[in-house]
C-alpha cells in the first residue's frame, strides 16, 4: 500500500501523489506553496489557523478545505488560486491581525516573520479594525530562556504541540477561550525543559523569543553557515548565525537523518558561552612557581615541546600522556592521534574518556540513527538519551509513538522508561539474567534488531559494558549497533583511544593502550612526566581540586582549552583553542556520519585550531605531520584505509547530511529538499539574503583529486584486539545487609567549563542528589529533602530526592542506589572502579 499512487489535479494540472500524503505536502512537492501557520511537517496537523484553505471539488461540489488537514484522494480537483481562496486568505489574515499589535519595528521576528511575509503576500494591505486590541503585560518570562509576548500570538498551537507531543513536557498550554485565548504556564511552574528553545524557533510570530537572542540582531544583518552541534556526538545539524563577528544564535536544520530540526537548549545556546570572553582562554600562558603569565605562542609551544622532549628523554615516550573527554573536531583529533603515535610515540593516550566499552563492537555492524528508529526491536543498553543525546530522546519518543518497540536495559530508569515496551533492570548480581530477559523480550523478531550501546552509568566500567554488549551480540548475531556514548566518536574513528580497534589507525605508529581512567590515576601517582589535556576538565575525569595541586607538583600539565577551568588554572602551560564556530572542519557523529563544522567568526584573541597546534608541536619535536592546511589532514585521513577511508569534503556539496562511514554503508542519495521556510523560519529568511546555505561556507577550495570512492570495501578489517577495556569482570561479592551498589548517572546540565561559561545555562547546574523511590526512602528512613552521607571509595554528603516515577520502574528488591549528577565529589565515590558498594547514613541536622 505505501506506494499506491492517486491522481489528482492542482489548478487543473494533473499530478500524482502517494496515498496517505497530506494535501499540503503534495502541493509542496508540486511546487505550489500555500500559505500556512500552524502546520509543521514534524508534528501532527491540527488545522488551527485556516490559512492553508484551498478549494477542493468533491462529490458535494467545491468547498474550502484546510490542505494541511486532509489527505490526497483519487480524482481530487484542487484550486489554490481561485477567487474564493484569495478571499479566504484575506479573511483569515484580517482576523489574525485583528488582535496583533503590529509592533514589527521592535520585534525580534521582524524580517523573518512568517506572519509579516504572508500578510504581505496574501493579505489585503488595509486594516478595517479600528477597535481597541487586546492587551497583556509583555513580554513575560516563562523560563530563564524564553520570553512570551501574548499580544503577538496567533494561537497556532505549534509551541504547545511541541511541548506536549514532541518533548512530552506539556508545561505550556492554551488558557482561556476565544479572544482571550493565550499561552500560559501554570502559576509558578516555569517552562523548564531541555528543549525549550525549539518553541522560539517554530513560533511563526514574535510571541516566543529566546532571552539570549533578544534584541541582539536583525535577521538581515545575520550571516550563517551550516554546521554541526558539538555539545554531544548526535551531530544535530544547525545553522550557525552571526553578526559583526559575534555569534548570535543557532537554529536547528531539518535534517532527515539526524535532528528533524530540533535542538536541545544546551546545544542551541552554546553561542552564549563562546561569547563570554571573560571565561575564554585567549592567550597562551606559562606558569612559573605560582604565577602564571601570558606569553607568545612560540614561547609557549617551545615550553610544551621542551617538556615533552624532556619527559621522553628522561622517562621514555610512554611517560607522556594525552587525555580528552570532549568532542574535538575530527581534524584536531586525527592530528593529535598522529602526533601521539608517530612523533611522541606514546601509548598513554585516550581521546574518548567517556567511552567505556570495546568500540570494535560498535563498529562491526553499525546502524544509522534512522535504522535504529525503524528497527523491529530497539535495545537501549546503559544509555539515557534525554541526558546524554537529548535530541535522540525526541526522535525516540516520536518513533515509539509511531510504533517502535523498545527494550530498555538500564541500572536507573530514564524518562523513556514509562513508554518503552520492556524495562529491564541491570544489576551486577543479575547480568546474565538481564541479558536473558532481553532475549526473551525480543522473542522471535530477531531480524533487524538494533542495539544502542552507551556508557551512561559510571558505576558500570568498561569491562561490564563490553561484557553485556558482547553477550547480547552473541545471542543476536545479526544485530546492528549504534554508539550511545555522547563523546568520543571522533577519537574512535581515528583510533585515538585504547577502546578503538587498532586497524583503524592510519600509520604504523604506537597504539594507545592506557585508558583515560588509568592515565588519571597514574598521573596522580606521578607515573607520567607530561600530561596533555585536550579541551577537557580533569575534575570531570575523576580528579578533585586538591588532586590538581598535587598533580601540578609531580607532572607538567599542558592544557589546550577553550574555556577557563580548574585545569587551566593549575596547568603549567595553557594553550588557547578555537571555540565552536571559530574554526572550519568536520566531525563524525554516533552513527559514523561525516558532518561539516562551519566557521562564522574569527577566533578569539590568539586561539588556534587544535590540529595546527599538533602540527607545530610536531615540527618543534623535530618531525613533521605534513599538515599545512585542513585539506592536508583530510587527504591523510582519506588514505588511512580505516573506517574513514575515502573521506573528503566534497560529499558536503552533494547533500545536507554527509555520508555514513565506512562508505560501503552509503545510503540512497536523497533528492535535495527545500527546507520548509515555515518549519525553519529564521534559516530560510537569512538564506534569502544571499548566504550559500546548502554548501555552507565550509572549506576552502575543495580537496585535491584522487579520492576514489571504494564503496565495495567492507568493514571486515575492523576486528578488535581484545584489550583496552580495563578491569576484568569478576562476579561481584555479595552485598552485606546495609550495602548497596552505586549507580552514578550523568545529567545534561552537569557542571563543565562550557556550561559554567554560559551565562544563560550556568544557573541550571544543580547539586547532585541521591534519588530514591518512595519505597526505598521508607526502607532507608529517608525523606524528600533529607541530607545523607554516602560512603563508598570516599564519603560524600548529598541531598535526598524521592521520585515517584521510580516507584513503577525500580524493582522492589533493588539493591542499587542512584546518584544523579556527576561532580568531582560524586565521581570520588567510585575512584575509577566498577560496581562500588556504598552505605548510606542519614545526617541528623538541626
Amino acid at each position: 500500500m505505501p506506494d499506491e499512487l492517486v491522481s489528482l489535479t492542482f489548478d487543473e494540472h494533473p499530478f500524482q501523489a502517494q496515498k496517505g500524503t497530506k494535501l499540503i505536502d503534495a502541493l509542496d512537492a508540486a511546487g505550489i506553496h500555500v500559505p500556512r501557520f500552524c502546520y509543521h511537517p514534524r508534528m501532527s496537523a491540527v488545522g488551527m489557523c485556516r490559512m492553508c484553505l484551498v478549494e477542493v471539488k468533491g462529490p458535494r461540489g467545491v468547498s474550502l478545505q484546510p490542505s494541511c488537514y486532509i489527505d490526497v484522494a483519487d480524482g481530487m480537483e484542487v484550486f489554490t488560486e481561485s477567487a474564493a481562496v484569495k478571499k479566504a486568505q484575506h479573511g483569515v489574515l484580517e482576523f489574525l491581525l485583528a488582535n496583533h499589535p503590529l509592533d514589527c519595528p521592535v520585534c525580534d521576528k521582524g524580517g523573518e516573520c512568517p506572519l509579516q511575509d504572508q500578510a504581505f503576500a496574501h493579505g489585503s494591505g488595509e486594516t478595517r479594525f479600528v477597535e481597541e486590541k487586546r492587551h497583556y503585560a509583555k513580554p513575560i518570562p516563562i523560563s530563564r530562556l524564553i520570553k512570551l509576548d501574548r499580544e503577538r500570538c496567533i494561537q497556532c498551537d505549534r509551541c504547545t504541540r511541541f511541548a506536549d507531543e514532541i518533548a512530552g513536557e506539556p508545561l505550556i498550554d492554551f488558557a482561556g477561550r476565544g479572544g482571550a485565548l493565550r499561552i500560559a504556564t501554570f502559576s509558578n511552574v516555569d517552562f523548564d525543559s531541555y528543549f525549550s528553545g525549539n518553541v522560539a524557533q517554530i513560533c511563526p510570530v514574535g510571541a516566543l523569543t529566546t532571552t539570549p537572542y533578544r534584541f541582539k540582531a536583525r535577521p538581515w544583518d545575520l550571516v550563517q553557515s551550516a554546521s554541526t552541534c558539538m555539545e554531544c556526538d548526535l551531530g544535530c545539524q544547525v545553522s550557525l548565525q552571526s553578526s559583526q563577528n559575534e555569534l548570535t544564535r543557532m537554529l536547528g536544520i531539518d535534517s532527515d537523518a539526524i535532528n528533524h530540526s530540533w535542538l536541545c537548549d544546551r546545544g542551541r545556546f552554546t553561542t552564549s558561552a563562546v561569547n563570554n570572553l571573560e571565561l575564554r582562554v585567549a592567550r597562551p600562558r606559562l606558569r612559573d612557581q605560582s604565577r602564571s603569565a601570558e606569553v607568545s605562542w612560540s614561547k609557549a609551544l617551545r615550553a610544551a615541546a621542551l617538556s615533552i622532549k624532556r619527559t621522553i628523554d628522561e622517562r621514555g615516550a610512554s611517560a607522556v600522556a594525552i587525555v580528552s573527554g570532549t568532542s574535538l573536531s575530527l581534524e584536531t583529533t586525527y592530528a593529535w592521534a598522529k602526533l601521539a603515535s608517530d612523533v611522541i610515540r606514546t601509548n598513554a593516550v585516550d581521546g574518548a574518556a567517556d567511552l567505556r566499552t570495546d568500540a570494535s563492537l560498535l563498529l562491526e555492524n553499525p546502524a544509522s540513527i534512522n535504522q535504529a528508529l525503524s528497527a523491529s526491536k530497539l535495545v537501549l543498553v546503559n544509555v539515557d538519551p534525554k541526558n546524554e543525546l537529548p535530541v535522540m530522546h525526541l526522535r525516540l519518543r516520536a518513533a515509539i509513538r509511531a510504533g517502535l518497540s523498545v527494550i530498555e536495559l538500564n541500572t536507573t530508569p530514564t524518562e523513556l522508561t514509562p513508554i518503552v515496551d520492556h524495562a529491564i533492570a541491570l544489576e551486577p548480581s543479575r547480568l546474565g539474567q538481564a541479558v536473558d530477559e532481553v532475549i526473551a523480550a525480543i522473542g522471535d523478531q530477531v531480524d533487524d534488531v538494533v542495539i544502542v550501546a552507551g556508557s551512561r552509568d559510571r558505576g558500570f566500567g568498561a569491562a561490564l559494558n563490553t561484557r553485556v554488549l558482547k553477550d547480547l551480540l552473541e545471542r543476536l548475531p545479526g544485530a546492528k549497533v549504534l554508539n550511545g556514548t555522547p563523546h568520543g566518536a571522533n577519537a574512535v574513528a581515528v583510533g585515538f583511544t585504547p577502546n578503538a580497534p587498532q586497524v583503524i589507525r592510519s600509520s604504523g605508529g604506537v597504539t594507545p593502550s592506557v585508558s583515560a581512567d588509568a592515565i588519571v590515576a597514574g598521573a596522580l601517582r606521578g607515573d607520567f612526566g607530561t600530561l596533555i589535556v585536550l579541551d577537557s576538565e580533569l575534575t570531570r575525569l575523576g580528579m578533585s581540586e586538591a588532586d590538581l595541586e598535587v598533580l601540578g607538583e609531580r607532572v607538567t600539565v599542558i592544557a589546550l582549552s577553550t574555556f577557563e577551568s580548574a585545569t587551566t588554572h593549575s596547568a603549567a602551560i595553557v594553550l588557547p583553542l578555537c571555540a565552536f564556530g571559530e574554526e572550519q572542519g568536520s566531525t563524525v557523529n554516533v552513527e559514523w556520519r561525516h558532518l561539516r563544522l562551519g566557521r562564522q567568526v574569527e577566533p578569539l584573541g590568539q586561539a588556534r585550531s587544535g590540529w595546527m597546534i599538533a602540527a607545530e608541536l610536531a615540527s618543534m619535536l623535530g618531525d613533521e605531520l605534513g599538515f599545512l592546511t585542513l585539506a592536508d589532514v583530510m587527504r591523510d585521513l582519506n588514505q588511512s584505509g580505516g573506517l574513514l577511508a575515502g573521506l573528503g569534503y566534497e560529499y558536503f556539496a552533494e547533500s545536507l547530511d554527509g555520508p555514513l562511514f565506512p562508505l560501503s554503508r552509503r545510503e540512497e542519495p536523497c533528492a535535495p529538499r527545500i527546507l520548509d521556510p515555515m518549519a525553519t523560519p529564521g534559516i530560510a529568511s537569512v538564506d534569502r539574503q544571499g548566504a550559500n546555505f546548502a554548501a555552507g561556507r565550509v572549506v576552502e577550495p575543495t580537496v585535491a583529486t584522487g579520492f576514489a570512492l571504494d564503496p565495495g570495501k567492507s568493514p571486515q578489517a575492523l576486528v578488535s584486539a581484545e584489550r583496552g577495556t580495563g578491569d576484568v569482570v569478576r562476579d561481584p561479592d555479595p552485598l552485606a545487609e546495609d550495602e548497596f551498589w552505586l549507580s552514578l548517572v550523568p545529567r545534561l546540565y552537569d557542571v563543565s567549563p562550557s556550561l559554567s561559561a554560559n551565562p544563560f545555562l550556568a544557573a541550571w547546574v544543580r547539586d547532585p542528589v541521591l534519588k530514591l523511590s518512595p519505597l526505598q526512602g521508607e526502607q532507608l528512613g529517608l525523606m524528600d529533602g533529607d541530607r545523607c552521607r554516602l560512603i563508598g571509595a570516599a564519603t560524600v554528603e548529598l541531598g535526598v530526592e524521592l521520585t515517584k516515577a521510580f516507584d513503577l520502574s525500580v524493582r522492589s528488591d533493588s539493591r542499587v542506589l542512584v546518584v544523579d549528577g556527576l561532580t568531582p565529589a560524586t565521581l570520588s565515590l567510585l575512584e575509577n572502579q566498577s560496581w562500588i558498594k556504598v552505605r548510606v547514613e542519614k545526617i541528623n541536622g538541626e
Binding site: D164, E169, P170, R177
Partner: protein
C-alpha cells in the same frame, strides 16, 4: 485554597476509576474542587493533574476554558444578571446598575464579606421572566430594584438556603453508586440481543 480533603480525594479517585482514560475525569474533578472551595484553586489544579496524569498547565487550560469553573475565589453567591436582548428591553441595565449600587461592587467584583459576586451574563433562557438573573445558576425574575434588594436581603438572612446552596455545590444528597455491571455480563446481553 487547598488540595482535595481526604473525603473529596476518595470521591475523586472514584471518579477517575470510572473512565478508561484517567484524563477524562479532568472536568468532573474540577467540579469537585469547586464544590470543596467554591472555586478551582491552583493547588487543586496541581492535585488534579497528579490524579489524572497530565500537567497542571493542561488542567489549567481545560478549566480556564469554561466560564462556570472559577479560577479565582468568588462569593458564596454568584449573581449573574442577564443583559441580553429580552432582558435589556425590560430594564436589565437598570437592574445591573442598581445591583452594583446595592452590593457596592462593580461587575466582576466580590463583596468584602465574601458573600456576593456580581456578573453580567448573556441570555440564560429565562426570557419569559425578563429581566432575569441567576444566583448560583438558580433563576430569579422578573426583577426590579425592589425585588433585587429583597432577593439580596433574603440570601443574606439565609432564607433561601434550601433553594440556593453555596457556589460550587454539585449535589446535596449523595447517592450510592449502583453496583457496576461486569463487562462480561454486558457482552453476554449484547450477544443475546443479536441472536
Amino acid at each position: 485554597m487547598a488540595r482535595f480533603s481526604d473525603d473529596m480525594l476518595s470521591r475523586a479517585k472514584e471518579l477517575v476509576s470510572l473512565y478508561p482514560d484517567p484524563r477524562s475525569a479532568t472536568i468532573p474533578l474540577c467540579h469537585l474542587a469547586q464544590e470543596q472551595d467554591g472555586y478551582v484553586s491552583d493547588e487543586a489544579m496541581a492535585h488534579i493533574a497528579e490524579l489524572v496524569g497530565s500537567s497542571a498547565a493542561e488542567v489549567q487550560g481545560t478549566a480556564s476554558f469554561y466560564d462556570m469553573l472559577k479560577l479565582e475565589p468568588v462569593g458564596r453567591y454568584v449573581i449573574g444578571v442577564c443583559t441580553n436582548i429580552a432582558c435589556m428591553l425590560r430594564g436589565a441595565y437598570e437592574v445591573l446598575e442598581d445591583a452594583e449600587k446595592v452590593l457596592g461592587i462593580p461587575v466582576g467584583g466580590t463583596t468584602e464579606d465574601g458573600l456576593f459576586t456580581l456578573e453580567e451574563v448573556e441570555c440564560i433562557a429565562h426570557c419569559d421572566h425578563a429581566p432575569a438573573a441567576q444566583v448560583n445558576y438558580r433563576y430569579f425574575g422578573p426583577l426590579d430594584d425592589e425585588s433585587f434588594r429583597s432577593l439580596i436581603a433574603r440570601l443574606r438572612d439565609g432564607e433561601l438556603d434550601d433553594e440556593v446552596p453555596p457556589h460550587g455545590t454539585l449535589i446535596r444528597v449523595r447517592r450510592e453508586a449502583p453496583p457496576a455491571i461486569p463487562m462480561t455480563e454486558i457482552d453476554r446481553e449484547r450477544a443475546g440481543d443479536q441472536e
